[in-house]
Symmetry: C2
DNA sequence: AAATATTGTTCGGCTCCTGAACTAAGTCGG
DNA sequence: CCGACTTAGTTCAGGAGCCGAACAATATTT
């Protein structure tokens, strides 16, 4: 895929550029093949053994990698293995959701060695102050970590240039600076990203299905629907950062009214809230409240009921799945990714929902054969892992050249 | 935009890599600012004057650029201007459309200095043989050109790995090797690309509106609808090369039957053929044939009639525009490009069609403000210019690194 | 013990960028 | 008319970094 050089924003190559490029390649190869010897790296990369040694020396000095045990070969000198230095960096991952906010501390190996959740406050300024305090506590509790940065997943789109949150519909927050308060509280660089985008990043950088997959989409289903797009191996954010709002494309012009002002948007037809609505309507009674908190049941309850064999709940899920499939069919037809990963509570009923989606997509998309549709494992904490990837990208991503 | 390094397909940096990168940057700067002095290039690029001189020397030796007239400054030594060597390369551009195939010979400056059209034959093998013969004639007629390659725009998608044409619905060609016969006839490298993609490339590389626009879509409206996507400054081809088939997303589940087997696809609702159908239906008479060749009038005739004030023709165009807008609204909402360029005969009635599209998009897309919708100038031969860009990309595109 | 295989290091040679010094060629002010 | 100043372009030493060959280290096999 040839890219046009952006003459308004490019980097010329300096003497050190080659080293930067090769360093990143080796870092990625070590990440993939660890533990791995210098000689193996040379073979994998095509670089000379001498060059690999030189770069390895630097990486060791910078503590990105460590030398490990000796290997064993049928003949010849034993290789010394290199692997990523797990303790080198700490990344603070934050998943800010409408109800609760999760904070975690991750190492280079994408494993979390601390995690806590707090309820998300309504007042953004107050809450960000509280969150900043929590982060300081976390850092004080782990003083020997070399902190690399903070990644935040937000339930809304982030302005590419100002780095402010445009609008988070389910929080009611608008044009908010999330970055500065957290940076001032912690002294670390903060990277913001839309939650659907972080899901896609998570799958790209640490997914099980994503090896060598340059085109993949995440479909994040909650109260709304957001899509994260990885195309040609990179996140697509569109003009100002608002790409991915497929949740607001019109599926049925005469459908229910959406918050956005239009009728029959995908997320009105296929989100968790839609399922709640379907449940309310299927029977005759409208206020069959389950948890007593409102007129319509929470989506969690519908999942629970369906599992227990409740027919109405099951049918609500089926309807939701049908419309999810209709939207995904559009994505498959238009973008033909190798993979689409569905994220959200709905995956807990994947045995029921998955086949319906598959069926609709096969029916409606000419190009269905090119795309695998996969449910994200809820245990994998896709959002959180994505924010880690967001921070690690800086070191492991392709260098920004030309 | 950080890209993940593809460990199955990467290039390490060698000593010459820096030169390759900087050479491409300078080549692009010369293209943009020509005529331009070495000193100016140094300022634009940030490279040392000595480095610029060294690279310029190479480019002169390779005849990519030539030294032109002296400039004039209020003070100091006169600069010698550099500009692209227009005569350096010849690119053969081929636009293969269902009815006619256009062949042109272009220089580095995107200007065509020879052009001819032949009717497209029904038998692909026979036709490709004939086309190859024509190409040889063209090359013989211009023997002093240094031929760089052949770019072909096809009315169908091309398999990324096999480079074969998957399927061209309006030609009825299926799984066809277009590349080999043309390469054998001419001895030149042949690049194939879908016509919607070439339109997008044309706008990216030689468009008037595309300066510094990394995200843009082309919507190619003919008997069907194809979309070409430039995202993050590069063509998105999807899994096997079939991305962009937005023409086959379902707009109305109960709409007319499409060739693809589904109902209410965008291209059934908004293509040239759709307008012909609307024309036939608006009045009571169905076979109001205009050219006498069939039951429905050609789209050309509808445009003509509408221009002459025919109400039915105008209403058919309005309907078509309405549905074009509905599809474009989906693209704007989901991909939020800076720009969408509409290509096809329909742009000849843009004064009528454009405002309707704008209106629908504003109504339906939350993100409409981020996107300009523009009609391609038919005189600019977007398809042909795109195939030239396809070939030139190899030299002017960002280097494939890491 | 010698031959062979494999890992990892050292070093000269090459490419290429930087930056300072230098040459070339113009304007301007006295 | 001439020297001061300015800008364009070239030359050259110095340093970063890759390559490739030679070499040292270490293991197995004969």
């Amino acid at each position: 895929m040839v890219r046009k050089i952006d003459l308004n924003n490019f980097q010329v190559a300096r003497s050190e550029t080659a080293r930067d490029i090769n360093r990143r390649i080796l870092l990625n190869l070590i990440r993939k093949h660890q533990p791995v010897s210098r000689a193996d790296l040379s073979r994998h990369s095509g670089l000379q053994r001498s060059t690999v040694s030189s770069i390895a020396e630097q990486l060791l000095a910078e503590r990105w990698v460590t030398e490990g045990a000796m290997g064993h070969l049928p003949r010849g000198r034993k290789p010394t293995f290199l692997h990523l230095n797990r303790d080198r960096v700490g990344i603070i991952a934050i998943d800010l959701r409408p109800l609760k906010t999760t904070i975690a501390l991750a190492g280079l190996d994408n494993r979390f060695f601390a995690q806590e959740s707090i309820p998300t406050g309504k007042d953004p300024v107050k809450f960000l102050k509280q969150l900043g305090g929590r982060l300081c506590d976390l850092m004080k509790a782990h003083p020997h970590v070399c902190y690399e940065g903070i990644g935040v997943a937000l339930p809304g789109r982030v302005d590419l240039s100002t780095k402010r949150l445009f609008f988070a519909p389910n929080l009611g927050w608008r044009d908010l600076d999330v970055k500065t308060p957290l940076e001032q509280a912690t002294g670390l660089a903060v990277e913001l990203e839309n939650d659907a985008n972080t899901c896609a990043l998570a799958e790209l950088w640490s997914g099980q299905h994503a090896d060598g997959v340059p085109n993949m989409l995440s479909v994040a289903v909650t109260e709304g629907i957001g899509v994260g797009m990885i195309l040609n191996g990179q996140l697509v954010r569109g003009s100002t950062g608002v790409a991915g709002e497929f949740g607001h494309i019109a599926l049925h012009e005469d459908g229910p009214l959406c918050n956005c002002g239009n009728h029959g948007c995908w997320e009105v037809m296929a989100s968790n809230s839609a399922a709640s609505r379907y449940y309310g309507r299927t029977g005759s009674a409208r206020n069959h409240a389950v948890n007593g908190s409102g007129i319509l049941p929470e989506f969690q309850d519908i999942l629970q009921l369906a599992k227990q064999g409740d027919v109405r709940a099951g049918e609500a899920l089926d309807q939701m799945a049908h419309h999810l499939g209709a939207g995904i069919a559009i994505l498959v037809t238009g973008l033909a990714p190798e993979m689409i990963i569905v994220v959200g509570e709905v995956t807990r009923a994947w045995k029921r929902v998955g086949p319906i989606i598959e069926k609709i997509v096969k029916q409606r998309s000419v190009t269905w054969a090119t795309t695998r549709i996969i449910a994200a494992d809820p245990a994998e904490q896709t959002r959180l892992r994505g924010t880690v990837a967001l921070v690690l990208q800086k070191h492991f991503g392709a260098p920004s050249i030309a």
